[in-house]
């Protein structure tokens, strides 16, 4: 799958969430979104599921998480 990427590691809350939402709202139908984050955005997870998105989060380093978001049907 092709991914768009955004890096929100140096943004203060709630800017990471705003950036993620903006990116998701313009995401092409066949693409996923990769987010480089400094922590796990826990409150986002339930909302993603409720809105039919799926996600996967991988910890790369102590303060570096790679979050992949994609549409449920692409899973």
């Amino acid at each position: 799958m092709k991914y768009s990427e955004i890096d929100v590691r140096e943004l203060a809350p709630p800017e990471p969430m705003t950036a993620i939402l903006s990116a998701l709202s313009t995401l092409p139908q066949d693409e996923g979104l990769r987010v480089h984050h400094s922590r796990q955005p826990f409150p986002l997870y339930d909302k993603l599921i409720a809105a039919d998105w799926a996600y996967q989060c991988e910890q790369k380093a102590e303060h570096y998480f790679l979050l992949s978001i994609f549409r449920q049907q692409d899973q």
């Binding site: 203060a12 339930d46 599921i49 809105a51």
Partner: protein
């Protein structure tokens, strides 16, 4: 790795923390009235019943009230921990804490037995229930993060404070609790209760929260590993030692707090985004005050009594509560009120992206100038507190300062909440 489908019981409804936040300044306004009507007598000793009413108004009515509300929201955000049945949980704990704090303040003022019984029942049930649920959630959480450890130690400290407080109240009712004599007798039991409340519950919780919120909200570097790993535990062990060997524990406690204050100032100074921010001013004021408290502690009593006109315990307590704890809590309120309002509305946009057009910029939820005025009012009323310790006859100036400060805080809060609710209706 976390896979989709895992539920984190995300943020509880926003009206739940907001009801805790709104109640807190009301208790401070009640404290301002108490200061105004009690007159000079209140300031003559830390053991004066009216002083006890005042300190419980500050610590339970404001500090614990805000912390209880904030924890409801902070745990899901920073640790992915949700509290089950949040509405029932928040309603019971908020009502009991409010009634219990009101009762304990009245019992110190009027000394009626039924007020003491009421305080024992509501604080015992309210705090006990909150602690039980939070402990269950925190101990169930497998993560061993440094902040989670700090939360656990703070919760345990509050449990100890609660039990000792209940014993002390029962003593006032004439019950003989000789079983506690092996711990301490007389005023030492009250000292343990007070120190565990201030340095254990409030202090460790603030330290644990700061490890998360300073790097997160201010894009600052993380606290040094040695500090995040051992500081909260060091303070907790010192509090344990204090029970039997106060003379050994107090210097260590002062050193630990001084170390935290210096580290906090350094971390804040290294933040990447040096934009003007009132909550940073609050953190800096808190850190400098804490450093001052730590240094003042090391002045020997004999030297103190010959050069400083204020009682040492009263001044250190006033600086710690008003300039350190209250500053941190107000600074955090300035951050989390707009943040929560914005985040709650923003999350709804995941289902309908077009709703984003209705959400204003986060700073519009709390005008920056309002926050700056709150900081100025807090600083001035804090100075009035120092003045009243020097000259008890100036008590009315402090009462007026508090009245202005907390009316302003209440105004800021209601304005933010009204804006939230108007946008919520549009979406």
């Amino acid at each position: 790795m976390n896979l989709s489908g895992l539920s984190f019981n995300a943020l509880p409804p926003i009206d739940l923390p907001f009801r805790f936040f709104l109640t807190a300044p009301l208790f401070m306004l009640a404290c301002a009235c108490l200061v105004f009507f009690a007159g000079e007598d209140l300031w003559f000793s830390r053991w004066h019943p009216l002083m006890l009413a005042l300190t419980h108004g500050f610590t339970l009515g404001f500090l614990t009230m805000v912390m209880f509300g904030a924890l409801l929201q902070l745990l899901p955000v920073i640790a992915g921990i949700g509290i089950p049945q949040p509405r029932l949980f928040a309603s019971i704990s908020h009502l009991s804490l409010t009634l219990g704090t009101g009762s304990i303040m009245l019992s110190f003022i009027y000394g009626k037995d039924w007020m003491l019984y009421s305080a024992i029942i509501f604080l015992g049930l309210g705090l006990g229930f909150y602690l039980m649920v939070l402990a269950w959630v925190l101990f169930k959480k497998l993560s061993q993060g440094d902040s989670i450890t700090g939360f656990r130690l703070a919760i345990f400290s509050l449990l100890a404070v609660l039990l000792l407080g209940l014993v002390l109240l029962a003593r006032n009712l004439g019950f003989d609790w000789s079983a506690t004599n092996w711990i301490a007798t007389g005023k030492q039991l009250t000292n343990i209760h007070a120190l565990w409340g201030l340095a254990g519950w409030a202090g460790i919780l603030i330290i644990a929260v700061s490890f998360q919120v300073i790097p997160m909200f201010h894009v600052a570097p993380s606290f040094p590993k040695l500090i995040t790993r051992y500081l909260a535990a060091g303070i907790f062990i010192s509090l344990l030692v204090f029970v039997l060997y106060p003379a050994i524990a107090l210097p260590i406690l002062s050193f630990c707090h001084g170390l935290f204050a210096v580290t906090l100032l350094l971390v804040i100074n290294k933040r990447k985004r040096k934009v003007p921010d009132t909550s940073i001013h609050y953190w800096q004021l808190a850190a400098l005050s804490l450093l001052l408290v730590s240094l003042l502690y090391f002045i020997p009593k004999t030297l103190w009594n010959s050069h400083i006109l204020v009682d040492k315990d009263l001044l250190i307590g006033a600086l710690f509560i008003y300039f350190y704890l209250l500053s941190v809590i107000q600074g955090m309120l300035l951050k989390i009120l707009p943040f929560l309002s914005y985040t709650h509305l923003q999350q709804r946009c995941l289902v309908d992206f077009s709703a984003m057009q209705f959400i204003p910029h986060m700073h519009e939820f709390l005008n920056k100038k309002y926050g700056q005025w709150l900081f100025r009012l807090h600083f001035v009323s804090g100075l009035c507190l120092i003045l009243v310790l020097l000259q008890p006859a100036t008590y009315f100036v402090f009462a007026l300062g508090m009245m202005l400060e907390f009316c302003w805080l209440l105004f800021i809060m209601t304005k933010t909440m009204r804006l939230y609710s108007s946008i919520d209706k549009k979406i």
